[in-house]
Point group: C2
Chain length 663, copies 2
């Protein structure tokens, strides 16, 4: 016990040395019975305020402002909004060196990936570079993660591309398509920033791990299948995304397959996968995998340049625009028949990119042991996308693969994003012509390598081992994405996740409890072998809140326990059952239907001369029982603080042959 404490007058350990020790088991000495207490009364307004506080401000984000002077508060507020003020004021050459190295490294990854992902979203390749320039700059000012590398990501690109292409053909109406993409980005940003501002950040937690494993796996396969177009150099490819359509399209267009492209692509794919493997096995050599995509681009471009027109069957990018992000605020599309589409696309890509960004931020923050404020981070990502949509960028977020490289390359602050943006800027201004001979197939294999990491077999196996229903949610998302559509996959997975929660409150565990000898504890007979039944009592532990969803079940299931126990005791010639004790410790909430179920149950039991006893209602439940006047109807003498005291009270009553004393 840490010494120096002089305020522990009531600590039981010391208390017991003075007072005679209490005896723990039932009945030997009359046990002191504690009344079940209620929470201190609060006005409706105060209670509501506290409840809303818990829902929206669980982390008490303003606690650092308490008891500070005004100027200090102002500085803290500015630092809260612009974290760059905080780390910028302590910036030095040492940090710059680390950030410059990591910034250069992620730039070498960001440029080929940017071009590839833009193509995945059916956008002009340079949009990918635009999106790797403005958003990282905005994030470095507003963001609170030190490791997030910001830019376009594969899943959001895929989803945006697939949702928009459903209604607008990017080849026939490229300008409209571009407008819709920027507008969807704008709505994604507004949605993300509002979630953060309204402190609804917990919404991203609703995409459970299991759902995401399945969704990511399915999406990765969809993305990979799309790359078959580039790999086989097929011209007439389906515009659909689902597994069946793509496979059919690949085999129907066999005549268009170009073996040169396939061979060329497979060689570089092997190179990229091997370097990726090395980078993953030995984090020290992360730069091998980090540099591989740019190396592939340079190498393949040189080869194609050397072969020039001799390289039949290998399609090249061709001329790319040059220049810095043009403004696009006037291209935003706020009315017309596609408004519903862009809002929907914005929300779906917004939530997906938010989920990835927040998860990546939290992962690396936890590795370096600092905190990332989810809601604050959402506002940063949202504002970054809103700014992006006005400067020809599409949806961006923190990318997992680039952030990992950033972390391994030793980034210290968000300045590595500034370095990366500067390199991208130089590329956009001066180096675009160099990509003329870059083969499209290289972009496809770069995407292939990047999305392979999204398929997480190990996680799926662990889900199966630990939780079959989680595994079902995972499979639902996987097959939904693969065979129907990205949105359906997400909805299926969300549905299964919710269903799981509902099943738990529809069919709660009800376990029969027994005494652990020598203690006052009552535990499940199924779990603890040493637990023993108490004659005349059925003690049931109810493991779920009592809601409308389980109020009928509770009654039926308890009556079934009573029937089974009565059959057992009469078979075994034991003393007959008199009391049904419900241990409601785990009933953490109750609604009006649940209260009625308890009253109904009491009536049914009483009609069989059985007594219903409640043990350990928590504060919230006790309060509801009191408010609904069920407390009196359940007879307050039948509500105890713990099972032990209930048993002791009724046992001593039976012994004194006064079973009706308390009725």
């Amino acid at each position: 016990m840490g010494g120096g404490s002089n305020r522990v007058e009531t600590f039981p350990e010391f208390q017991d040395l003075e007072s005679p020790p209490q005896i723990s088991a039932h009945g030997v000495q009359p046990l002191e019975i504690h009344k079940v207490a209620f929470q201190k009364k609060q006005s409706t307004f105060r209670a509501l305020k506290q409840e809303l506080g818990e829902i929206f401000f669980p982390d008490d984000p303003l606690h650092q402002f308490k008891n500070k002077s005004f100027s200090r508060k102002l500085l803290l507020a500015l630092q809260y909004i612009f974290p760059i003020i905080q780390w910028g004021s302590e910036y030095n050459l040492q940090l710059l060196k680390s950030d410059a190295i990591s910034g250069l490294t992620i730039a070498s990854l960001a440029i080929p990936q940017g071009i590839s992902y833009a193509k995945l979203a059916n956008l002009p390749p340079i949009t990918g570079l635009y999106s790797s320039f403005v958003p990282p700059l905005v994030y470095s000012v507003l963001g609170s993660s030190k490791d997030l590398a910001v830019g376009p990501v594969s899943i959001a690109s895929l989803v945006m591309g697939s949702m928009l292409r459903d209604q607008v053909n990017p080849d026939l109406e490229p300008l409209l398509y571009l407008q819709l993409a920027f507008t969807a980005t704008f709505f994604a940003g507004v949605f993300q920033a509002s979630l953060g501002f309204l402190r609804l950040g917990f919404i991203v937690d609703y995409l459970s791990k299991a759902t995401l494993v399945g969704f990511m796996g399915g999406a990765a396969i969809i993305v990979s299948l799309q790359q078959l177009k580039g790999l086989f150099d097929i011209v007439h490819f389906t515009t659909k995304m689902d597994f069946v359509s793509v496979i059919v399209s690949v085999f129907k267009n066999r005549t268009e397959w170009a073996w040169q492209s396939v061979v060329f692509g497979l060689c570089f794919l092997a190179f990229l996968l091997i370097t990726r493997h090395i980078g993953m096995k030995r984090p020290k050599y992360f730069w091998v995998s980090a540099a591989a995509p740019l190396t592939s681009v340079i190498l393949s471009t040189i080869i194609l340049f050397a072969l020039k027109s001799h390289a039949h069957g290998i399609d090249i990018i061709g001329r790319l625009e040059k220049g810095v992000n043009p403004p696009s605020a006037d291209m935003l599309y706020f009315q017309g028949s596609y408004l519903g589409l862009v809002v929907k696309t914005g929300i779906v890509t917004g939530i997906l990119s938010l989920t990835e960004g927040i998860a990546v931020g939290r992962t690396f923050a936890s590795l370096k042991n600092y905190q990332v404020d989810g809601n604050k981070e959402m506002m940063a990502i949202g504002l970054m996308n809103m700014a992006g949509s006005c400067t020809s960028c599409y949806v961006t977020t923190g990318s997992f693969s680039r952030s990992a490289v950033n972390y391994n390359a030793g980034s210290k602050t968000a300045a590595s994003n500034i370095v990366m943006a500067s390199v991208v800027l130089i590329t956009m201004l001066f180096l675009m012509p160099l990509f003329y001979y870059t083969p499209n197939v290289i972009l496809s294999v770069i995407i292939l390598t990047a999305v392979v990491g999204l398929i997480d077999f190990g996680a799926a196996v662990r889900l199966w081992k630990v939780d079959k229903l989680d595994f079902m949610a995972c499979l639902g998302a996987f097959f939904g994405v693969l065979f129907i559509s990205v949105e359906i996959g997400l909805i299926v997975a969300l549905g299964i996740s919710m269903l799981k929660i509902l099943i738990h409150v529809t069919r709660p565990n009800i376990v029969i409890l027994g005494n652990i000898p020598g203690t006052q504890n009552y535990r499940s007979l199924g779990q603890y072998k040493e637990a023993i039944r108490i004659p005349s009592f059925i003690i049931l532990g109810i493991e779920s809140p009592l809601y409308f969803t389980n109020s009928m079940y509770l009654q039926e299931r308890v009556m079934r326990w009573v029937r089974e126990e009565e059959e057992r005791t009469s078979d075994m010639n034991e003393s007959e059952i008199n009391y049904i004790v419900l241990d409601v410790s785990a009933v953490t909430a109750v609604d009006t239907s649940g209260i009625e179920a308890l009253l109904e149950l009491k009536k049914t039991l009483n009609s069989r001369s059985l007594q219903l006893v409640l043990a350990n209602p928590v504060a919230g439940v006790a309060e509801k029982l009191r408010l609904s006047e069920a407390w009196e109807k359940l007879e307050s003498e039948c509500i105890y603080m713990c099972v032990g005291e209930a048993i002791a009270a009724f046992s001593s009553m039976s012994k004194n042959s006064e079973p009706d004393m308390r009725k």
Copy 2:
């Protein structure tokens, strides 16, 4: 203690008389530490079988078949499927007398209500009588409730009428409309029977009490508003159902108002409401309110007959068809553009009528203390509607008002339904011409009186008092039905009900616990004033399952408790915090995200030199922790059976200055 028991060798009360009493508080004598146990291992198949059994067969419906001979089993099975075999074999004249009286009484209610409700569904009046003939007969053979009076009901009639009229005009295409109504009834029956057969009966419990109070109230007002057409005798009435449209339509057609109809109607409305009030206040005089509708019909018909053509402005029913239910199986509509509509209408009316029927059956079963098997009852109602759809009936179920009259009139078995059906048959065959002069306004006031009872102000007030969120669900359903549509109202209410469950698992209560002096119990400091903190420990009770929805919240909220407690102890100069004990008794389930949250939390706490300790994981949670290998990572020495033992173990460790002994 009931004597005669000779198998209680281990009952603690007796045991303690022999063994030296254990001392309950911490540290004075080294406490025996119990290992947390796991459930007995089961194969995946057995575990799955048990889980599915709990979900679909919680009431163990086959237990009565156990250990019986084959012929006995066969008889039981027949009795299970056709309850009439059971009660029919014991039927006698005494029972017949009671059933005849109650059957006649409900017939006098069923005939005017049947005609009125059919009009509410835009169907020919005689359909209401058809529906009061075949379905009650089918139910009396299959149903297990002794009090349910079967026939058309107001809510289902309204909903079917409103959903079908949305797409087909009953005045322009009466035959198609009739076809669709019968087909919707067929699908409702199929849906209901399948729910019962697949043992998914718990679905009806998802319409919580709160939702139903709001929904019924809203629907009752919608139905009442529709009656303004009849009351004011308006010819050009809106076909829409929502509040605003109807009110606008009533006032726009002021020129059509017929004062004769209004006066006539209001007189009979007053009569019906007064008799209803008498019937409710004095159950002995239930027959006053039961006979009132038929009396009104007879009286008003005689008046209109006497006045004949002098009665301007009072519309009469006119000629009604005669005869018994014509077959309608060939009218069912299984293909074409309206198939989606009838399936949807069938499902919505099916679930609504099921909810009413099951609730009514359970209510009266509980009053007479017998059990109604929900799933069995659903099959009966479903088959009844399927049979009905082939004999020109529309959706029927157990009506609350008529069942209450049936109960009060002293019905003993389902034979009262047979008596009622016989009276309806006689009416259909011989008495239909008598309704020629019955004024339409009387049917409207009969409906008005019937639905007034559905508006339950008292219940809404109780909801507000007990549970603000339940009240919100109630309001959502109410306004949704009133201002938008019946379906939207239902969806809103279901959504709010689900949301409530989700909020509970998104923002679980986490309370700080203290020791109740003199016991081994640890209870919330907010609830129990006598509870005291234990120096060096923070003991937190987590009141919800750990799911993906709250895994981030758990970490943030626990760290906030740690921060606040550390601030408090340093302010108060108390000994510093070393251990964080999570009482997970109420964590009744955990998923993969929840497990990761625990591991993450442990890491964060360890990095601050704090020790995470778990107390009392229930069987399911312990199992999941073991399967995911989190058990070892959390260090099994840091998981205790109860808070008391954890505190005792770590306190004695600190005293022996061996804080690392268990690490």
